[in-house]
């Protein structure tokens, strides 16, 4: 909110004004009759939780909240003065477009439901971090992994082939369904990983992988987590990265799964044959980082580590600790080591922290992309 803008009243300097502003905002939302509205009386004012029926509802709501100088966010944590959007009704999952390995979904659909639908057609989103299936598609794509998975060639690629997002002015942005394009900057990336700061994802076309026809697993004894991560780094930088991998302190083993033509040879090169189960670890802390961070993991006292999205430069991983509480302390260490925290959400720094490293331009970007601050975060917002 700009102090110089005469059309904007700064309500925030007095508690009763803030309460009045919150009440006005909620009254406006209720009066407009957009979506299903639930009004909650909180200690410091009124709040609204809205369940839009479709993208048009979100667009109208955002435009209205902007006019009322309020704030909106996709969140279940209600707060006075914030219109909380619940996208659970935007959960449509269309049948996959099989020829192009694509699936069109609403942002409120759960990732695990998308995966279940894909599997019916012999397709899959690929190996994901343990917390990802519980998330909505919107939260997954707007979160720190940006919905990325590894693809051959040692690189990462977001699952989002195309997006629909509602922008701060209430307009609907839709990108074209093309595998790649050179029509200017990739504008999807203004909202991918953006935590809803510059737009609310309402729908997406997701890339699916064919379920592996050929798969081979291998294991190798290692003495430490550092050795395990070094082995995986070298495997990921070879001709074909493992699709997923796991290290377990109790067994002293690092295991890797390889997909596709030649996977048996790669598995043999990696270690001895392995037929172990595919159990998912209790990911107390999920991180994204480069190999230099993963190979310096020993201070975190991990019991098990599961890696996905292994690529030439790094991987995403879930870490299991002996006690869940260790995650909080470990998250601070991890960030100092160069990791980005993916989950739990409460341990993630605000996106502004990352953007501020790019210099003063972030402030300018926020001012031009969201001039009324409808999607801005307050320092006191619960996460």
């Amino acid at each position: 909110m700009s102090a110089e803008d005469p059309t904007v009243i700064d309500w925030s300097h007095r508690e009763e004004d803030a309460r009045f502003a919150a009440d006005s905002l909620v009254n406006g939302i209720v009066g407009a009759g957009i979506g299903e509205v639930e009004v909650l009386q909180l200690e410091d004012g009124t709040a609204a939780s809205v369940r839009p029926r479709n993208a048009d509802d979100i667009a109208q709501l955002v435009a209205l909240v902007t006019r009322l100088h309020g704030r909106a966010a996709v969140t279940r944590r209600i707060r006075s003065g914030l219109v909380a959007l619940d996208l659970s009704r935007l959960n449509a999952i269309a049948a996959p477009e099989e020829r192009s390995s694509l699936i069109r979904v609403g942002a409120g659909a759960l990732v695990r439901d998308v995966e279940a639908k894909a599997i019916q057609f012999g397709l899959s989103l690929g190996p994901l971090l343990p917390s990802s299936p519980r998330k909505t598609v919107g939260a997954w794509l707007a979160g720190p992994t940006r919905g990325e998975r590894s693809v051959p060639g040692g690189r990462l690629e977001t699952a989002a082939l195309a997006l629909e997002a509602i922008l701060p002015d209430g307009s609907a942005y839709r990108s074209r369904e093309a595998p790649r394009s050179a029509t200017g900057p990739d504008l999807d990336h203004v909202v991918l990983g953006g935590e809803g700061r510059f737009g609310i994802i309402s729908a997406a076309t997701l890339r699916l992988f064919p379920r592996a026809l050929v798969e081979s697993a291998a294991a190798k004894p290692v003495r430490s987590v550092v050795e395990a991560m070094s082995v995986l780094r070298d495997a990921a930088r070879g001709d074909s990265a493992p699709a997923e991998a796991r290290w377990d302190r109790s067994r002293g083993l690092v295991e890797a799964r390889f997909n596709g033509i030649g996977s048996a040879t790669r598995a043999r090169k990696f270690g001895h044959e392995h037929v172990g189960g595919r159990e998912i670890i209790r990911g107390h802390l999920e991180l994204a980082g480069s190999w230099s961070a993963w190979t310096a993991l020993s201070p975190l006292r991990a019991q098990a580590v599961q890696l996905v999205a292994l690529h030439a430069d790094g991987a995403f991983g879930a870490i299991e600790f002996e006690h869940a509480e260790e995650a909080d302390e470990a998250a601070s260490f991890a960030q100092a080591m160069g990791f980005a925290v993916v989950s739990p959400r409460r341990l993630r720094p605000s996106p502004e922290v990352g953007w501020s490293r790019a210099g003063p331009l972030f402030q300018a970007l926020a001012a031009t992309l969201d001039p009324h601050g409808v999607f801005r975060r307050e320092a006191t917002d619960p996460r």
């Binding site: 390995s101 051959p152 790649r180 050179a182 200017g184 990336h189 033509i261 990352g354 490293r357 001012a367």
Partner: protein
């Protein structure tokens, strides 16, 4: 601009970067009035240098770029960043004069670390020099555009370029890990290579075509140089069966380095026989006229030529290569490919056409001017779409262009979800004026048809000025609004590459 004024600018800039790094010479300014946009070749053929910069500057460091940008802000002189001038969409043409900022003196390879799979370089380095230096260290970037001798790292990133092996290594946006850039505000941005939460600013700067910031340094993924290669060419009975081979290979998890399918006419021109001289007679005679003035006359009725092409046998050439660190791996991948090709009725025609492709893969670049001497124009349009729309886009573009130009197409840069369609079209330009109007009509009709059929306007050439008017049809009001917001934040004085992306 008056000579005294020009001299003042030269002196000011010389004080910032040194006398030897600034020129206002008329021949230099004429040289920088064009890139490889074919329309500039039409003008050049007739001795016209329409868009000349006032001054050409060669910075040597990021600090010098900051000084130049701050000077441009103060004097309101536009800046057009310039790599090696291979843009085919007028990306490097100084439409509003001002400063042409030639980055080629910022050409140092800063680091190569094969163990960490990362290298860094200043962006003015020419592609082949960069690749040669990496190969000396046992590495490859895996980025091999046909323009590799006449394009720079910065140009690739600015335009979201693709190399011929993108099916394996990805496009440039898949390779860049970090960027240093000077925004239009004069601020230096350093993004990556470590991952930070939030929107990926690298993906915002990549493809920004010099309109948001001047790129100065980049960090990117490198790979060990492959030691084994398997090559093969196949004759497919139809375009549809060739496309189905491409799609199925990706579904099997295969990622060929080279994967290229030619439509029936392009197959004839490339030569789908094991020996090139076996190209059919009618096509040979057309190729013989390629540089003669009779080409312009022959093209005066392109619909007749296009109809004749439809009589060609429907067979299509598919060339493929796999590269890896072991011969066993590439042989296994080739064997899996052979199985798919046979299942779809294709025939193995040996390595010949694929070897020829390797031999001539960089022989395009600046050479397209031959056709222009033959009273004709030629251009290429590379679009991209998903598999189910590839044939409809192919048909729609050919139909739209049939009365304006002689059209052929190849399909490359494949993905699990679709591929790029690379149209080459040749039209008449008996006079420059007629040539320009025929050229513009062909482009407008071609782009409209591609967009309506569901393709993106560009896969790797970029937008520049040539496609800027059609960009709103692809991005819509909301997308264009975002682009304008980015421009307002990064370049509030609109000094960077005006007239590009945002027409």
């Amino acid at each position: 601009m008056q000579a005294a004024e020009l001299e003042g600018i030269r002196r000011d800039l010389a004080a910032l970067v040194g006398t030897r790094n600034v020129s206002v010479g008329s021949s230099v300014r004429a040289l920088y009035s064009r890139d490889c946009w074919p329309r500039t070749l039409l003008w050049e053929r007739d001795g016209e240098f329409r868009y000349q910069p006032d001054v050409v500057v060669w910075p040597n460091s990021t600090d010098e770029v900051v000084k130049i940008v701050n000077y441009a802000r103060k004097t309101h002189l536009p800046i057009t960043p310039y790599g090696a001038g291979s843009s085919v969409v007028a990306g490097a043409v100084p439409l509003r004069a001002g400063i042409s900022l030639d980055m080629k003196r910022m050409r140092r390879l800063l680091s190569v670390d094969l163990k960490s799979r990362r290298a860094s370089a200043q962006v003015g380095i020419v592609g082949q020099r960069l690749e040669d230096s990496l190969q000396q260290a046992g590495a490859t970037m895996g980025h091999f555009p046909s323009s590799i001798y006449c394009s720079t790292l910065g140009g690739w990133i600015a335009a979201r370029g693709a190399g011929q092996f993108s099916s394996y290594y990805g496009k440039i946006e898949d390779m860049v890990l970090g960027l240093t850039a000077v925004a239009g505000t004069g601020d230096v941005m350093r993004v990556g290579p470590e991952r930070v939460p939030g929107p990926d600013l690298i993906q915002i700067l990549t493809g920004s075509e010099g309109t948001l910031a001047v790129l100065t340094e980049a960090t990117f993924i490198i790979h060990p140089k492959p030691t084994a290669r398997a090559l093969r060419a196949f004759r497919m009975k139809s375009l549809a069966s060739g496309l189905e081979v491409m799609r199925r290979l990706f579904r099997l998890g295969l990622r060929p380095h080279l994967l290229r399918l030619y439509d029936p006419l392009d197959s004839q021109i490339v030569g789908d026989q094991d020996k090139p001289h076996e190209t059919s007679k009618p096509v040979k005679s057309l190729m013989a006229s390629w540089t003669s003035k009779s080409l312009g006359l022959a093209l005066s009725a392109p619909s007749l030529l296009n109809r004749a092409v439809e009589m060609l046998p429907p067979r299509c050439l598919l060339v493929i290569s796999y590269e890896s660190d072991t011969q066993a791996q590439v042989e296994a991948e080739l064997q899996a490919t052979l199985d798919v090709v046979r299942e779809l009725g294709g025939a193995d025609i040996g390595e010949g056409p694929a070897q020829r492709w390797y031999k001539h893969r960089h022989s395009t670049g600046y050479k397209q001017s031959n056709v222009f001497a033959g009273h004709a124009w030629s251009d290429t349009m590379e679009v991209c779409t998903t598999w189910e729309k590839v044939l409809p886009v192919y048909d729609a573009v050919r139909q739209a262009l049939r009365h304006e130009a002689f059209v052929m197409c190849h399909f490359s840069h494949a993905y699990l979800e679709g591929c790029s369609l690379y149209f080459t079209f040749v039209g008449p330009a008996v006079t420059a004026k007629k040539g320009e109007s025929s050229y513009d009509r062909a482009w407008q009709q071609g782009m409209r048809a591609a967009l309506s059929a569901g393709a993106t306007l560009s896969h790797h050439h970029g937008v520049g000025s040539a496609k800027a008017r059609q960009l709103p049809d692809e991005l819509g009001d909301a997308g264009m609004g975002m682009l304008r917001s980015l421009k307002a934040a990064f370049d509030p004085d609109s000094i960077l590459n005006p007239g590009k992306l945002l027409a």
